[in-house]
Point group: C2
Chain length 288, copies 2
């Protein structure tokens, strides 16, 4: 897992424009937002799905970078004062605190463009048509019916008590869409039978939910120091979460159930799905 | 020109998610930001370049929509309080005034994703490889070495006196990149010889600058009512402009010189470049 994290760090490092290129402050802020931290869950999923599909990791690099760039942009924008107004991320001041709000806005905008640019490198999929399909998948996962849409539902629900079903609708979009996209893009770099792909996407959908349930539990139970971001924010902001909907203990066992459901999707992949399975277990057992 | 504007309005209307689809508030705000106004200069350029390249207008629709969606997202974000803090756009309250800041942020983010999604419709270019190239062109024109980068330079230059050369560096990125991209994408929907394409891009580069010079003149000379956005903002914000650098009269004649330079690029296209030439003249003679 660490080798994979080192790999994506180098790929992102090479993709992000150097601070020697104008506008230097914007490029410095983009690098600050992306490099040197994070669990890199989405790139790890992309590489693992690529491995399951028999793809050379070098071919998965751009897909792994694209999903991480989208994730990084969403964190920068989510932390802005008009959204979550957070000052700490990955143990460091957030981008708008370290730089300024206008720069943070542009950092997010430019990282989104860079994510799409990363996927335009020729030869990422077997056929160029399939690569256009990868770009479409990334765009839908990021947009108003994916991540940005989930964020909008999240905003609208603050201070409200949501049912578990409503929570799931929100998270399927906010977190799940990009998690599923990571698996889908990794798989598209290689070859999977329709059955295998269906199974991998089943895994991704359930892992997206499990990821969010665990996030909610960690926010309620771990310290700011361990998380590297402000802990206890959900309760303080009256955000509806799995913890507020079902309590810590039930949320923990719900995450385990979702993991079991997710793993069942990997059956058609046999041994080739082992890395995805390991990642699934890591996502549910992590402490930050 | 009006027929073309009606055409792009329908295309955008069909591309933007309906307010009947969740999240409805986000979709309503996206539609508010994009539909029912604007000069549509970038789509007009894309259609005119497509015509010059012998492309069916139906094939240019997505390219025209993509550049307008990027433009619309940039206006929504530029108008935010942390940027230009503007309350009026196209004669209406800006998105963050009509809705709220967090929604405006997400509207811009989701419109950018939608722009890329629009370009993933199969069959937009002769070969899928070329369509991937169109996506790369859009990504570069939008990102930190294109529009978002120009915006960052603009931010950094407020209150400073820039030379004409420094102003040009800023505008080549901030406005010029997307104007050139509009021509480039339109042309990619059809066929141009290398000479014709070089000429069309020469036209686009000079028109990008001319567009901005005229914008600066209009800001200094026209009323808020005519412009549909707050007039006199540049001087009020101590923004370096062509008017502050060279005065209104010299800026006007500079725009005419840029137009002549731009038109010279259209020579290789002969009669097929007529619509682009007409658009060039319109851009320099417009009063809003």
């Amino acid at each position: 897992m660490q080798a994979c994290r080192d790999r994506i760090e180098s790929v992102l490092e090479a993709l992000l424009p150097s601070v020697a290129i104008a506008p230097d402050k914007l490029h410095a802020a983009m690098r600050y937002a992306v490099l040197g931290g994070g669990k890199r869950v989405r790139p790890l999923l992309a590489y693992a799905a690529g491995e399951a599909a028999g793809a050379d990791p070098a071919r998965v690099d751009r897909a792994a970078a694209a999903v991480e760039l989208i994730h990084a942009y969403s964190l920068v924008h989510d932390d802005l004062p008009s959204m979550d107004n957070d000052v700490l991320r990955r143990g460091q001041p957030t981008v708008h605190v370290k730089f300024d709000e206008a720069t943070a806005l542009l950092v997010g905008d430019a990282l989104q463009s860079l994510a799409f640019e990363a996927l335009t490198e020729p030869g990422l999929a077997g056929r160029p048509e399939d690569q256009i399909g990868m770009l479409a998948t990334l765009a839908r996962a990021s947009g108003s019916r994916g991540m940005a849409g989930g964020q909008a539902v999240d905003l609208a629900s603050q201070g409200k008590a949501l049912t578990v079903e409503e929570l799931e609708f929100m998270h399927v979009h906010k977190t799940g869409a990009l998690i599923a996209c990571s698996v889908s893009l990794g798989a598209a770099c290689g070859t999977m039978s329709p059955d295998e792909l269906r199974g991998a996407l089943h895994f991704a959908r359930f892992m997206g939910l499990a990821f969010q349930v665990v996030d909610d539990v960690l926010d309620a139970t771990e310290s700011t120091e361990t998380l590297g971001k402000t802990a206890g924010k959900d309760a303080a902001g009256s955000k509806p979460t799995y913890v507020s909907a079902m309590g810590v203990e039930r949320a923990r066992s719900y995450a385990d159930e979702l993991l079991e459901d997710a793993l069942s999707g990997l059956a058609p992949l046999g041994d080739r799905g082992r890395r995805l399975a390991d990642l699934g277990r890591y996502i549910v057992s992590r402490n930050s």
